[in-house]
Amino acid sequence: MASTLISTPITNSDRARDSSRRKKKKKIQAKQDHHQQQEAQSHTKWKSEAQQQLYSSKLLQALSQVSINPPNTANTNTNPSSSSPPRRGRAVREAADRVLAVAAKGRTRWSRAILTSRLKIKFRQHKRQRSAAASSGTGSTRPRKPKFSVYRLKGKGLPAVQKKVRVLGRLVPGCRKQPLPVILEEATDYIAALEMQVRAMSRLAQLLSGSTSGAAGST
């Protein structure tokens, strides 16, 4: 459908320009077709039962390895009951997100962003430790540059839409400064993946809670 929309304006233009533009349009069409295929594939991919099973298995794997203790204190603290539920919950959530990103096979921006975010956090922690050890004098961090929002009345239209686009960009991991079409594409895949995640986790929680309640009842 998109291809026809593109091709109709060309019919009336000059031939000399036509050839160059046709090449451009062909590329764009090819990209779009690829995109469509990708999106269609991603939709079906996330909805398939096999994907969900795969995800749940990997999730259990990850959950078993979850450690709420920060990496620095992991070796010292081995008390199992010291962790507070929020920390555990967050750890579980992070593990779940990581597993989801792995299931996405790194084809999407948000999956790559999730996978690299932990590395970034660790890197920042290491950096801070080093910097703190090296220089104790300069405690204050560099003041962040104030972010100016340039109101463009044209381009993306009203600032309201622009604000919403930014909010959505912040919600989807790894899409903060991306243009709208990219954000929309990422959001499509992310929503499908989140739905699958919710389904898998709810089933898992149900089963495990069911089993524990059963165990408690039987004993």
């Binding site: 593109i6 320009r17 929020p86 909010v167």
Partner: protein, 476 residues
């Protein structure tokens, strides 16, 4: 070309009182007055205008006559229509009149309702004539009028070759650009904007050029006469009269005009035209880019509409974006809630397997007995999980049978929690020997593809068995 004339004239003939103004007999002044009348009249009645335009009769006498180069305010209308493929094209009868006077004897007016198509045809038609260059002037006032979108009308003026085109080459370039520019109705506004801007630029320059000519009251001193051509000092006209026997083809005319006006002017106008061409190119590229981008966005919004429930009724970017944001936030909250629930259900998740395993290898594993026991249960369930995954059997990988084994484990493991430490030592020691026995099983487990870190749970599998055995022994 003259052969085409009568045909065109025949088809174009229609009653019109204004046609009389086309004869060379009329003086230019009279013609102008007629034009003004026509102009006013047409402003009042665009429909009439439409019809009357079709009735234009171009006299063949123009061939040998005057080739005025009009740059009137009224002509800007026609030009705007030409350039913009405008929806509201009210071709000025004055302008058409002038076209006629320019010698477009065989000009046919084909009023085309399709802006884009008509535009192209017009451009093709113009390839023969080169007289677009002079008509680029567009006073801002007229340009402002053009902003409203009405029914599409565009002119097609085809002229025979051999009319005056002293800037034929430039005109051709411009025409080709114009042809490319007029592609889509949706781009009309932008085209208008571009053309108007271009026009306003040119107006200044051309007005400067024609300042001397534009003096309505003064008679002409400005023309640089030479023996061959003379300029009639009329406002907005550059008349190049051709004498008998002289060639009237475009090339010679161009030569004459360039000689009269001076080469510098020629180059100035040439540079102007190039600027216009560049500007048009830019506009076209922008238009294409924006079109493509818009299509991408709309396509993706449609996908999202399918995904997000309850978005079928909402149209428009803002509402859709709101819905999408809400949905993503709700999904994320659900994940958060479920993860908390999972964490609560499985309080043994907060242990690092690597640490545990390292400690298990050493005899001094007393403190970790609890952890071993508890984690082994989890790993057992995890291990059990993998079989169904490999076989792709059950819906969620946890059968009730597996759960029962888990329950058994839990029961046995919960008991040892209260065991005094003396027992722990013995149990730790009992774990050591069975490791060798379980190596064979581990080999099988390793065959399954898992991440490196994940293989450790399997190694604890033998411990579960041993623990269970030892616990059972203890209980019994």
């Amino acid at each position: 070309m003259n052969r085409a004339l009568p045909e065109m004239l025949n088809c174009m003939n229609a009653p019109g009182t204004f046609l009389a103004g086309n004869s060379t007999d009329m003086t230019v002044l009279e013609r102008q007055r007629a034009r003004m009348k026509w102009h006013q009249h047409e402003h009042n009645d665009p429909i009439q205008l439409h019809q009357q335009q079709q009735g234009y009769n171009f006299s063949g006498n123009e061939l040998s006559g005057v080739f005025p180069v009009p740059i009137p305010a009224g002509q800007a209308q026609g030009f705007m229509g030409l350039v913009c493929g405008d929806s509201e094209v009210k071709p000025d009868p004055c302008s058409e009149n002038r076209w006629a006077e320019l010698g477009y004897g065989s000009c046919g007016l084909v009023v085309n309702n399709n802006g884009a198509a008509g535009f192209e045809e017009m451009i093709n038609g113009h390839n023969n004539n080169g007289n677009i260059s002079r008509t680029f002037s567009c006073p801002p006032t007229v340009a402002a009028e053009k902003k409203s979108n009405d029914a599409v009308l565009s002119q097609k003026i085809s002229s025979p070759a051999g009319k005056e085109s002293f800037k034929k080459r430039k005109a051709d370039k411009v025409q080709s650009n114009k042809a490319v520019a007029a592609e889509d109705d949706s781009t009309e506004k932008r085209m208008k904007g571009c053309a108007e801007e271009g026009d306003s630029k040119i107006t200044e320059q051309t007005s400067n050029k024609n300042n001397t000519n534009n003096d309505r009251e003064s008679s002409g001193d400005t023309s640089k006469d030479n023996s061959k051509a003379s300029e009639v000092q009329k406002p907005d006209y550059i008349h190049v009269r051709a004498r008998r026997g002289q060639a009237t083809d475009s090339h010679s005319l161009a030569e004459r005009v360039s000689r009269t006006r001076g080469v510098s002017d020629f180059y100035k106008s040439l540079s102007l035209l190039l600027q216009i061409i560049l500007f048009n190119c830019l506009c076209q590229c922008l238009i294409v880019i924006i079109q493509v981008r818009r299509e991408k966005i709309s396509e993706r919004m449609k996908y999202l509409q399918d995904l997000v429930p309850g978005c079928n009724k909402i149209t428009g970017k803002a509402g859709m974006l709101d819905e999408i944001i809400n949905y993503v936030q709700s999904l994320q909250r659900q994940v958060e809630f479920l993860s908390m629930k999972l964490a609560a259900v499985n309080p043994r998740l907060d242990f690092n397997i690597d640490d545990l395993f390292a400690k298990e290898m050493f005899p001094a594993c007393a403190a970790n007995f609890q952890t071993i026991g508890m984690t082994s249960e989890m790993t057992n369930s995890a291990y059990v999980q993998f079989n169904p995954v490999q076989q792709m059997v059950s819906s969620c990988g946890l059968d009730m049978g597996i759960n029962s084994s888990d329950l058994a484990l839990r029961r046995t493991i919960s008991a040892p929690v209260s065991i005094p430490e003396t027992f722990l030592d013995t149990s730790c020691f009992t774990q050591a020997p069975p490791t060798a026995i379980w190596d064979a099983d581990l080999q099988n487990l390793f065959n399954v593809e898992f991440q490196q870190g994940r293989t450790t749970p399997f190694q604890s599998q033998p411990f579960t068995g041993s623990i269970e055995a030892s616990n059972l022994k203890m209980e019994m």
